[in-house]
Amino acid sequence: MALVIGICFIGVASRLVYVQVIASARYAGVGRSELLHQVELPATRGSIIDRQGDTLAMSVPQTTIVADPHQITDPQGDAARLSPILGVDETTLVHELTQDTHFVYLARQASDDVASRVKALSLRGISYLSEPKRFLTDPQLALPVLGTVDIDGRGISGLEYEYNKALAGKPGDVVLERDPQGNDIPGGVRSSQPAISGSNLVLTLDRPIQYATEQALSSEIVKANAKGGTAIVMDSRTGDILAVANLVAGKNGAPPGPAPSNTAVTNVYEPGSVMKGVTVSGALEDHVVTPEERFTVPGQISLYGSVFHDAEPHATESMSTGDILAQSSNVGAIGIARDLGKDRLFHYLLDFGFGQPSGLGFPGESPGILSNPAQWSGTAIAAVSIGQDEAVTALQVLDAYNVVANGGLWITPRLVSATVGANGSRHAVPTLPSRRVVSATTARELTAMLEQVVQSPSGTGTAAAIPGYTVAGKTGTAQKPLPNGRGYEPGAYEATFVGFVPAEQPALTAVVVLDQPTPIFGGAVAAPVFAQIAQYGLRELDIPPAGPQSGPPVTSVQTGAGSTPIPVRTTD
């Protein structure tokens, strides 16, 4: 008897020694793994705000409803009660609730209303997490530029993608004790590391100007029955992009909506006549032509078997350099380009920013298509000089004319001005240095010609005039190439107007492009949009008109001492 007890005792003792001493770490580990639970603390994603501090996109905590299928006793009944609230059909819910797992999502980032109604059901096995959801303060404003995030809050397009790391912050984690039901044991926090919120992005966009630009472009798309359009407004001196609108026509009478991407930088097109500004700038800079020089310009010209003619047929006439620009004569421009030579022309095209990325760094930005002059055919110089046989983005066109607006200096465009960390520290995005493209004299000469485009009665851009201000700009109407690249689509044109205002001291540079409008001409459809958005921008930036001599609808109002009421005469 004593022997049996002794053996049992030795057995128990050895087991004790084994558990307590030899394998203690393993058993303790098992216990810890059952008890402890690591939870990730999501970091609040940074907001995107405009230059005035108005929020454009922000993340807000929402309730994510999860279930532990192992604790669900009545999946059918629960699914029936949850289905109308969550808006998910019953079979899907039943499938989720019967999974062999401890964790399934029932609804992610549900609204307060939905969450409170689910909570009111008091179903067992349902728990709630806090998950942030991204909201735009205006559902469509600058959507292609801001971009979108996926369900987990990661940026997948636009600025949300480009600056994802700065916006995302760093999640924290907490290790805490949990009871077998999965509830947190209060006071059982073993270690915790707080999350670091993401930085806010401060954009150069100006929300009111962005809105006004989108509205003006939208109504013109409707009016001209266009397929879509792009407009960019930039602060001339700093290169800050104040607005960029990318719209496509709505289907079945719906108003135009945001384009699927930031087409202003991702899509390329053949610019047409706006390229003549670059051609003439190069010719002026190289002293190949002078502003007053007169040319004999026929109505059409034949080159290596191809015929180039002006938009409006005319007999051979005498035109100055300025006239060639103002009336957008193809033949005149080709003549100047041939005097300049293809290598110099190509040099100026590169210098004005074509054929390469602009430096903005936007995801998906296209460098454009510009082929090496060594590979140019005989007619290429003619085509390129008038804006065909090359592909550019709307931003490149804008940047090129901004060079003229800045007296010949290239200014790198900017969309983000700073990031503001969670602790309030502000890091400005550095501006890249400017470089000289043409001399100030050339810029001034070209500006005077561009003013004539808008002011001269025979100019193509008279619709871009703004009362009280001097506008300088250029129109463009270019055929769209066929998708296979061989030849052009009949009747399909892209209409452009690009310009800056006030001409004497440029503050705003803007470009407007319309895709397949009716009428087709840049001067008819794009120039009026330019006038509207530039006028709005000038008021928004408090830039006063030049004075009565410019002819604004100004009324003089007599102010004086005394109590006599001041007469107000206004013109309507």
């Binding site: 009111p208 958005i533 100004v554 004086g560 005469r569």
Partner: protein, 222 residues
């Protein structure tokens, strides 16, 4: 006649050795001593006859205790100690309970803080959404019946004593502006040092129309 506390002994006891009543107690403890022990008042003679055993005697202080009392005392001490320990343990348990209760409370409060913070964020979103230009324009046009003016009028203040020139011929309306937000009159002040005209049609804050509803800058005077 009231009884007196002390009564005289009825008679002094004679001291004789060998008396059956036994030797008297004395401080020296020697049965031969002839000290007179103090007698308890009222003690009848003859009772001494029952004390037959010889007792070991010593002087005790008033505070010293009998063995029984000592045992009682020890027991009392033990009980006291046990009670103390129990109280201590009980206090530990109570402390633990209080701690846990407060931890629950803390967690509940933390949860409340998180909920309120989230609510605050949602309200901030609502505010930001209400400030969006499209929302403001929608409210202005649909609820407040405002319209976007079709023309912009610039006013130029002229100093006193000068006759204002005749108004220029009406220029064609400025490009049809379907631009809703924030159309308002501005002022041109290029040739006078006075800043803005002190008169006239409502001009509220010039910029940030997104934060003010657009003002109908029609020429009906204020």
């Amino acid at each position: 006649m009231p009884a007196t506390v002390h009564r005289r002994p009825a008679h002094p006891r004679p001291v004789t050795p060998g008396r059956p009543g036994g030797p008297k107690r004395s401080p020296a403890g020697h049965p031969e001593r002839t000290l007179v022990a103090p007698t308890r008042p009222g003690r009848k003679p003859g009772r001494h006859g029952r004390d037959s055993a010889v007792r070991h005697l010593r002087v005790v202080s008033a505070r010293e205790l009998t063995p029984r009392a000592r045992r009682r005392r020890a027991m009392a001490l033990l009980i006291g100690l046990v009670m103390l320990v129990s109280a201590g343990l009980f206090a530990v348990v109570v402390a633990h309970v209080v701690l846990t209760q407060n931890q629950f409370r803390l967690d509940r409060l933390r949860q409340q803080v998180a909920t309120e913070t989230a609510k605050n964020e949602r309200l901030r979103l609502e505010v930001a959404q209400a400030q969006s230009p499209s929302r403001i324009v929608q409210t202005a046009e649909q609820r407040l019946g405002m319209v976007v003016p079709s023309t912009i009028t610039y006013l130029e203040p002229v100093g006193p004593g000068t006759v204002p020139p005749a108004p220029p011929p009406t220029t064609p309306a400025s490009p049809r502006s379907t631009v809703p937000a924030g159309a308002h009159t501005g002022a041109s002040s290029t040739n006078s040092s006075t800043a803005r005209p002190t008169t006239v049609t409502p001009t509220t804050a010039p910029s940030h129309p997104a934060s003010h509803p657009p003002v109908n800058a029609g020429t009906t005077s204020r």
